[in-house]
Structure formats: C-alpha cells, structure tokens
C-alpha cells in the first residue's frame, strides 16, 4: 500500500466536499509521523472479526443439552473467552438460534416462529442427537426427526448430550463460517441482475 494522498470518494467530486482542509491536514500528519498506528485492511475482515467474536445466542433449550450449555457458561469452560457469553431471551436481539434438546411436533411451530422473528444475518446451531436426527426418539410419533426439516442449520454438534468442549468446537466452527462471509456483498449477497427488458 502506498501513502494515502487524497481521501476521496468516487461519486462526489473532490472540490464539492466542505472540510477538505482538516482532512488533508490529518493525511499529512499521518504520513509524516510514520510511527503512528494505522491499520490498513479489508473492511469486511474488520466487521466479521467483530461479528464473530460477539455472537449473541438465543438459548432455545428444551432438554438435557441446555444444562451442558449452562456448564459452558460457567467458570470452568467459560464461553465468554470466545465472545458467546451474552445469551438473549428475545429473538430480536439474537444472532444465533442455539437449539438444544428434542424438538417435538408441538414445539416445531414455535421454533419456526422464533427463527422468523430473528433479524438477518442469523445462524442456527443444532446441538445434540435429537436436533440432528431425532436421536434416541427417532421412532416416536411426536418428535421432529431433525430440525433441518423445519429451519436451515449452520452447524451440527453431535453428542447426547455433547460435552462442553464439543459445544465450544461447534461454536468456533460457526465463527469460522462467519469470518469468511462478505458483509458488503460478494458471494453471500449475489442477486441475479434484472434483465433489461423488465426495467
């Protein structure tokens, strides 16, 4: 990267900005000082770094796995180290739907509704055998055989119940997944261009 010369934005001509002088002073200061800390990088990386280290989960705990999630939050495993410690009880404030425990036919509409209420971007982690396939209750008449039949799932954490270490590993896989996303477009937001006739 060369030195920054003129802080310009493409769509507006440089002369039309009002406060050019102070910005230019800042540029000369930065360029002159040399040892001042300036990080130059991809804004996507910065945002994803922040997003992936503050994943707020909606703790949708229906049975056993939820207790292991509580153990994960306590002092020994301490998921706060990785930025998961804030669990939200409202879907509006959550990034991640953490499904822990069997989802039954009666609960499935409620789960779908919570998922729909969450704001984009949102993720789903399926914890434990029950959420993945129905687990030991696969043959039951009242159990959904895998929540991916109802909502899309990002990470599966197998186990009955998974150990806290497994939960941490699964959540860190989710972090990796968040980190490669392009927040400002690119593959994640690619929409088909409208055809000219339609316009």
């Amino acid at each position: 990267m060369g030195l920054i010369k003129k802080p310009k934005i493409k769509s507006i001509p440089y002369d039309q900005w009002q406060d050019n002088a102070s910005l230019e002073k800042m540029v000369t200061d930065i360029n002159a000082a040399g040892e001042q800390n300036v990080v130059v990088g991809n804004l996507d990386d910065l945002i994803n770094w922040g997003r992936s280290n503050s994943v707020w989960s909606l703790a949708f705990g229906t049975s056993c796995c939820a207790i292991e999630f509580m153990a994960l939050g306590a002092a020994r495993y301490d998921m706060a180290r990785f930025g998961f410690e804030v669990t939200r009880n409202s879907p509006r404030q959550a990034d991640l739907l953490m499904v822990m425990g069997t989802v039954t036919n009666k609960m499935a509409p409620a789960m779908k509704r919570l998922y729909d209420q969450m704001a984009e971007p949102k993720y789903v982690v399926a914890t434990g055998a029950c959420t993945i396939t129905g687990g030991p209750f696969k043959k039951s008449y009242h159990v959904v055989n895998g929540i991916d039949k109802v909502i899309p799932v990002d990470v599966y954490i197998p186990g009955c119940p998974p150990r806290p270490e497994a939960l941490l590993y699964g959540l860190m896989q989710l972090q990796r997944k968040i980190k490669i996303e392009k927040f400002f477009g690119g593959v994640n937001r690619k929409e088909a261009k409208p055809k000219e006739e339609e316009i």
């Binding site: 703790a59 949708f60 705990g61 229906t62 049975s63 056993c64 939820a66 207790i67 292991e68 509580m70 153990a71 306590a74 002092a75 020994r76 669990t87 009880n89 425990g101 069997t102 039954t104 036919n105 009666k106 609960m107 499935a108 509409p109 409620a110 779908k112 509704r113 919570l114 030991p136 209750f137 043959k139 039951s140 008449y141 009242h142 159990v143 959904v144 039949k149 109802v150 009955c160 119940p161 150990r163």
Partner: protein, 539 residues
C-alpha cells in the same frame, strides 16, 4: 383390619391379584364408592394418590390407581375398566384427590378415557387438534404428521358432567373469563426451566389463575417403550429427568430385577446408593444456582456450577458420562468404580463441607433473597398431600414423604440419615430443604464410602430378558420427588406397558394453587423454588 378386608367390606365383588403388587380389581360402577371409603377411612386414610396409570387391555380401557396412606405408609393399587371403546366413561375422583384433576387429563389425552364429573377434560400434552389417542394399541403412529400451523387453544373445556340420576348436565366451563387479562408465559422462556407454558390470568399484578399447558417436550417415551426390549428401555429413563438420571434408571432396573427375580450383589447396592446421592447433591447445587439466577443473582450460579463440576468429574471417571451416565444395568452397573473413587469422593465431601458456608453467606441471609421467598407461595400441608407434591417441595410443607425413609431400597434402610422436613410451607422452606439435604446426602455417602464390599459389579443375565406376566412397580426418591415405575408384562421380551410416575407433574399442577394471590413478579421465583424439570413431566 387388613386392607383386603376393608376393601371387601366396601365392595364385596372386588377381586385381588397378588403376583407382585397387591391389586384390587373393582367394577367401574362401585369404584367411586370404594375410593371414597378408602380416602376417608378413619384409621388409615389413603390420602395420597401416587398415580393414575391409563391402560389399554385390548378389549377394555381402564386405569390403575396407586394410593398410599400418609399415616401408615400402606400402599394399594386399584384397577377398574370399561369395555366401551367408543365412549369409555369412568368416574372421576378429582374431588377426593386434587392431583386426579391433571392425572385424569393425562389418561384422557393418551387413551381417550373420559372421566365423568371432572370439569376439565381438555388435552394436556398433545395439541387440541390431535387426531386419535396415541397410547391405544390400535393407534396408527403415522396418523398425525407434523403440523406447522400455529397452535390455538380452546375457549371452553370439554366435560362429561352427570347429575345423581345419571342425566347429562349441559354446562359450559369457560377456562378464562371474557374480561380476564391473560399473560402467556412460555413455552420459550428462560425461567420456566424448560419448555413449559403457563397461561396466567392477572388482576393488576395479582395472579388469579395459572393454567399450565404441557407437552412441548412430550417425546412419547412410554409408547416407544412398548416396542423396545428391556435393556433398550433403560436408555430412555436417563433422558426423563436429566438431573436425576441415575435415580430414574435405578428405579427401572430395580423393577425389572424384581420381576425376573435376580439378586444383585451388595457391592452394586453400595455403588448405586453412592452415585444416587452424588446425583442428588449435583441436582440440588444446580437448583441453588438456577433459583437465584431466576431471581437475578448471577454470582451463586458460578458457585453452584464450580462445585457441581467436581461431582461431574467423579461421575465421568466412573461412568463415562457427565450429565447422562447410562450407568445402571439390569443386574448391576455398567463398569466397576475406578481405584481412586473413594479418595475423590471423600475429597469432594471435605471440600463441600468447607465451602457451603459461602452459599449461606451470599444467599441465605441476603435480605433481598429472603424477602422474595419468605411467606411467598404457600403450599399447605393438606394441599401438598392432595396435589401429590412429593420430594423436597412436599417436605417443605411438613409432609414426611421421603421414599428412602418409609419404603427403603438399596442401602437406605441401613444408613442413618435425617428426613429433612420444614413446616413453613413457603418458598424459603423449599429452598432450605434442598440445602439441608446436601448435608444429609454427604452423611449417607460418608457412611458407605469406606465399606464398599468386594464382589461382582454385574450379575450375568440372559441376552434376551423375558419378564413373567404380571404388574410390577417400584419407586425411588429421585432428586425432586418420588419417581415410580409401573411395568405390566405379558411375558414377552418387550413390555406391554411401562409407565413412569413423573416427579414434576404434580408440582406444575400445584402452581395454580401456590401462585394464586401472589404477585406475577413472584411467579418465577415460586416456580424456581418448586423445582421441576420439564422433560420429566412430558415424558
């Protein structure tokens, strides 16, 4: 007068079967008379209804009623049935035992048995638009596919009311009045300890009625059991009440061992008892952590989990599982204890005894905590018995109901421990019972830990276990009440019916009685102090 004679004095046509449990079979027409007679008997009133177990015997539908006297601790089971499968009617006993209100709803939900004169005959576990009754033997398991439409609730309850002459009374029973303000708590709520839904009617801030809606984690375990072999059924018990995983499984193993008549070595009894008590401490520590977290205090959560992890380490080293151990097996336990087991357990007890004062310093004397619990959520002794609230919540109401004491199993008959009973009946007493039980459990473990006898840890059983025909039942004191198993066998390698007495079901039912008149802000604290685990209720 023996219980048999007393029953015969009321209903002369009663017949008795005595393979394992003493069961009195009475026709439905005279059942009501017998129930009243036993309930209001002067010397030995059967005032605690342990369970109603709906049954489908092919040609007839019916139920087992398990009764116990709180005075003499005598137990009796009654059986009654009706052959009308289209419109099965049985007399309700909900005015004699309050717990029957909800247990009859359970039997209706699963078997379609209608209890006459029970004012509330709605479904409790399944959706209102569910087709058929899943526990009947002729139910098609695929008849109710996943329904993703939003759930609605009936405005009126179904009922089958008859007057004294047997004429049907046409009366509509509205669940909530038109002008009542109903707050819907759950099913996804952080402080309901699972997926419980409480429809709560309030006037201002005062709770006037709580209508629990269960079944959000109803997994059909009892129905699944009917197609699993006996060793396979064991796996599901751990997932009922996961904080009493080992005790639940202990109950089922004892029941099957009793049925097939195998003697288990003394070493196994010692190991089972110690692990049961470790599990109880684990559960009560979690209770402590969660109750106070529900009320907004976060520090005790870390205290509870810090010490709980030590138990989980011991359990993991012994059994391989942290939360769900899968340890007991028919005829013994899965694996022998590890060489340093005694040392680790003793180290834990020493640590716990040295640190429990921290719990009391931070919480028990805390003025905010005591103000929110003392005098709140009164469950009177009478109500506790009538509602069948066993375990710590019942003992906080002055009811001596510890199964370990009154129907000892495993090593409990041979160890010295105190049954913790409080007479305050409020939330604070329920909390204190748990805290004191931690100390008692440690006392039990200390008496056993050095004396574990040598011997086998597992008796070899046949690869395919067939239980002789009959009805068997056992009960244990699980972490939060009496956990019972009822097993009816027809001599096959799979059970004909395997029913579990849920420990939390009566506690959720009691929420209506306990919360009325309290402020809605206290509802969560009262619910936390009652200590229920939802997967155990819904099964």
């Amino acid at each position: 007068m023996s219980i048999k004679d007393r029953i015969l004095a009321i209903v002369p046509e009663a017949t008795f079967t005595e393979q394992a449990d003493l069961i009195a079979t009475v026709p439905a027409s005279s059942f009501r008379k017998l129930a009243e007679g036993l309930r209001y008997d002067k010397e030995d009133p059967m005032d605690f209804m342990r369970d109603i177990v709906g049954m489908d015997w092919g040609e007839s539908l019916g139920a087992y009623y398990y009764l116990e006297s709180t005075k003499t601790y005598n137990r009796i089971a009654l059986r009654t049935e009706t052959t009308d499968r289209e419109n099965p009617l049985l007399p309700s006993v909900c005015d004699l035992w309050k717990t029957a209100e909800i247990k009859e709803r359970e039997a209706y939900d699963f078997f379609g048995i209608k209890f006459t004169n029970n004012p509330d005959m709605r479904r409790i576990f399944l959706r209102d638009n569910w087709v058929g009754f899943p526990f009947r033997k002729d139910y098609d398991l695929n008849s109710n596919p996943l329904d993703m439409s939003n759930e609605t609730n009936e405005e009126f309850s179904d009922d089958y009311l008859f007057d004294a002459d047997g004429k049907e009374i046409d009366k509509k029973n509205r669940i909530f009045g038109k002008k009542e303000f109903v707050v819907n708590i759950g099913p996804q709520h952080p402080s309901t300890h699972g997926v419980l839904r409480l429809r709560t009617s309030v006037v201002g801030e005062t709770v006037t009625k709580v209508d629990p809606v269960c079944g959000y984690i109803h997994r059909g375990i009892e129905k699944m059991n009917e197609s699993l072999t006996y060793p396979q059924t064991l796996a599901l018990t751990d997932r009922l009440d996961y904080l009493a995983a080992n005790q639940n499984r202990h109950a089922l193993c004892m029941c099957i061992e009793k049925a097939i008549g195998i003697e288990i070595p003394e070493r196994v009894d010692y190991i089972r008892t110690i692990i049961d008590e470790l599990q109880r401490i684990d559960s009560h520590l979690l209770y402590f952590a969660c109750l106070i977290m529900d009320m907004g205090g976060l520090t005790p959560f870390f205290y509870g989990f810090r010490d709980r992890e030590i138990i989980l380490d011991i359990l993991e080293k012994t059994t391989g599982g942290r939360l769900i151990q899968n340890y007991n097996r028919i005829g013994g336990v899965q694996a022998d204890i590890y060489p340093e087991f005694q040392k680790d357990v003793k180290a834990f007890i020493k640590h716990m005894r040295g640190i429990i004062h921290e719990y009391h310093e931070v919480v028990t004397g805390n003025v905010i905590f005591t103000t929110r619990l003392k005098g709140m959520g009164i469950l009177t002794n009478e109500d506790a018995i009538s509602l069948g609230c066993t375990g710590g919540s019942g003992r906080a109401s002055g009811w001596h109901n510890d199964v370990r004491k009154h129907h000892p199993y495993s090593m409990y008959g041979k160890v010295d421990f105190k049954e913790i009973v409080y007479n305050e009946c409020d939330s604070f007493a329920r909390y204190m019972v748990r805290m004191d039980e931690i100390m008692e459990s440690m006392k039990i473990i200390e008496q056993l830990i050095d004396n574990i006898p040598e011997g086998d840890y597992l008796v070899k059983t046949k690869p395919i276990i067939r239980v002789p025909e009959g009805v068997y039942s056992t009960s244990v004191e699980a972490s939060r009440g009496e956990f019972g198993v009822l097993l009816e066998s027809k001599g096959d390698k799979v059970p004909y019916r395997l029913h579990y007495r849920s420990t939390g079901f009566p506690l959720v039912h009691a929420m209506d009685t306990v919360c009325r008149g309290n402020k809605i802000a206290d509802l969560i604290a009262i619910g936390g102090s009652m200590d229920y685990v939802i997967p155990d209720i819904d099964r």
